[in-house]
Symmetry: C2
């Protein structure tokens, strides 16, 4: 299990996301938080390449300044709908626009994860299909008022008020939350040998 | 949204499940907890009928002794695998047996929900397909040692250490956690008119 593989290891999460912190806590892990500072405005239109590039940049930036025995984890999440990558909304008008597009449709969520250890980095990604109910204008307004969409890719959080809008998912739930747990466990087994 | 529909309503959750409490908190709801005391050993082999019967019994038992304007919510969750209903394991040997069966396979999780309000009860259910990775004997032992399987239907919790064993789900995540949020919202719209 993850906590056994990481026993006596110093684990660093190169992210400031409260959702990712919550997932690491759920896995029984004590981690250090050291958010990477990178330019997330990259011109990569392929969604899996986009998230893997950013996850790898985050992890490697922090790994460079840490002891080689540390396990540094980076991640990046986007929403992909009709060939467009949706990141965090700039403002509430854009959040309303995102939600209007996602309403009554299915979209993909991609998360890239990267683990650096002993000067080597391993990177992979996960993809989940998410189906939204049809949202009324009132629901969109009420949801934006909760402030939950502000800091979320695609302007929604599956683990909060947004949960009531999601009819079903196909794939990994934790990927939609921002960190694909089973994929992380698989990758970790390759890294810690 | 759920919190708007329930504004100024006294909401009672007829369950002691910490996962359900957590979901209600996530939806921004203040609820009273008043667990129903019913015999869960019923002889209904059909999984949807099984969970709907128990959810309705829980909700109606509490609704009977409360003011008619209260909104009383009952729920019941089971795991269904190879035509067998798996409830909470009796002991750790049974937990190991359940996990051995679920390993490397897909199973269904069913949750029944029932809402009583103004002396009327509405009941429905949700079903989600969950796919487990192949578990090693070591993983099963380590997982049982965490004590997480003890009080969970099917001997696992998707929202804890168990998350790392789940490759994918098809359907509602919160249903697997024990309370299908979107289904609850749909049912609530019928109840509160």
């Amino acid at each position: 299990m993850v906590h056994t593989l990481l026993l006596n290891k110093k684990v660093i999460l190169a992210s400031s996301s409260p959702r990712r912190k919550q997932i690491f806590k759920m896995l029984g892990l004590k981690v250090l938080h050291k958010p990477a500072e990178i330019d997330e405005n990259i011109d990569i239109k392929n969604p899996s390449k986009h998230v893997m590039t950013l996850a790898a940049e985050k992890a490697s930036q922090i790994a460079k300044v840490m002891d080689a025995d540390c396990v540094v984890v980076g991640a990046d999440t986007i929403v992909f709908y009709e060939k467009k990558i949706l990141v965090k909304p700039d403002n509430r008008f854009q959040a309303a626009d995102y939600l209007t597009h996602l309403s009554g449709k299915s979209h993909y969520v991609y998360t890239g994860i990267s683990i650096c250890h002993q000067r080597k980095c391993f990177t992979d990604y996960e993809r989940t299909l998410v189906t939204f109910k049809t949202l009324t204008a009132q629901e969109i307004c009420e949801y934006i008022e909760t402030a939950e969409p502000d800091d979320k890719a695609g302007a929604y959080g599956i683990q909060g008020y947004g949960s009531q809008f999601i009819i079903k998912i196909n794939g990994c739930y934790f990927n939609v939350m921002g960190f694909p747990v089973n994929k992380f466990y698989q990758l970790l087994q390759k890294v810690i040998t």
